[in-house]
Subunit: 158 residues, 2 copies
């Protein structure tokens, strides 16, 4: 259960574009240098974000990237899906659906239930957080941080 490079750098680029704000423009060379990846690789990632509908690009001189829609409408979970998939592929045990007695006593279903639990848990965070949350100041960020049971605020998890 690791983050892929696409997810890591893709989200970083998106946040950077978000910080540029309304009408702000960020170029590939800028992101490349800021995030420490090659321009070619940044370009590759940006293409994914563009095709996913999160950013739009302007070509030519003074070109660059801007958010395609308001930050509060960009759900981080959706971004993750596009960048690398939030998928748990424990696709067994579908035949047992509903047969609780058998199901709970099988390897398939034990494992499957665990993955589901993890998936639900991750979604608690990723489906609630929008790009806007990531751009806000600390107090606002605590909105989604507090969704995590046990976390008292940003400082408690940082």
């Amino acid at each position: 259960m690791k983050l892929s490079a696409n997810e890591e750098y893709g989200l970083r680029c998106l946040v950077r574009i978000g910080y540029a704000g309304e009408g702000g423009n960020v170029t590939i060379p800028e992101m490349s240098q800021a995030e420490g990846v090659s321009p070619a690789y940044a370009a590759k990632i940006l293409r994914v974000l563009r095709k996913g509908g999160f950013v739009k690009a302007a070509r030519g001189k003074d070109g660059g990237y801007t958010l395609a829609r308001p930050a509060e409408s960009i759900v981080i979970g959706d971004v993750m899906d596009v960048l690398g998939g939030r998928i748990f592929e424990s696709s067994f045990c579908d035949s047992h659906a509903g047969q609780a007695a058998i199901c709970t006593r099988s390897v398939d279903c034990s494992v499957r239930s665990l993955w589901r639990a993890v998936q639900v848990s991750v979604d608690q965070v990723l489906s609630k957080a929008t790009l806007r949350d990531l751009l806000q100041n600390e107090e606002d960020m605590n909105t989604w941080v507090r969704a995590i049971p046990g976390a008292k605020g940003l400082h408690s998890i940082q």
Copy 2:
């Protein structure tokens, strides 16, 4: 954020060995067939579990694998770590530690905080669940399922 093949099949094998119970023995051919992977691959995964101290092997005729220690002492999070890593590698922004004002306004820290939140969230499940939980019947499994906010029980996430 995907599960690796190692994590998927490693955990499945471990659970299967767990089901065999005290003194029970599971062989590579058995696991191979049950999980639909080649014997060679199963062997490779089992080696990881053995080196991680979760199972022990008996060679020769009537040989096979057994749990190396009681199921209740095997934390699933630890198993995951060994099989593929539960690591979020957003290792930037360490220099800012403590400087909240600057930190929250930076790409590094926004993203890092999110990863931490996800990590905490995942740990809510994986660090609480033991192999014993996965082997128990439905009612017992709800112990760790209930740790997920919003989940009312096993059925609610399955």
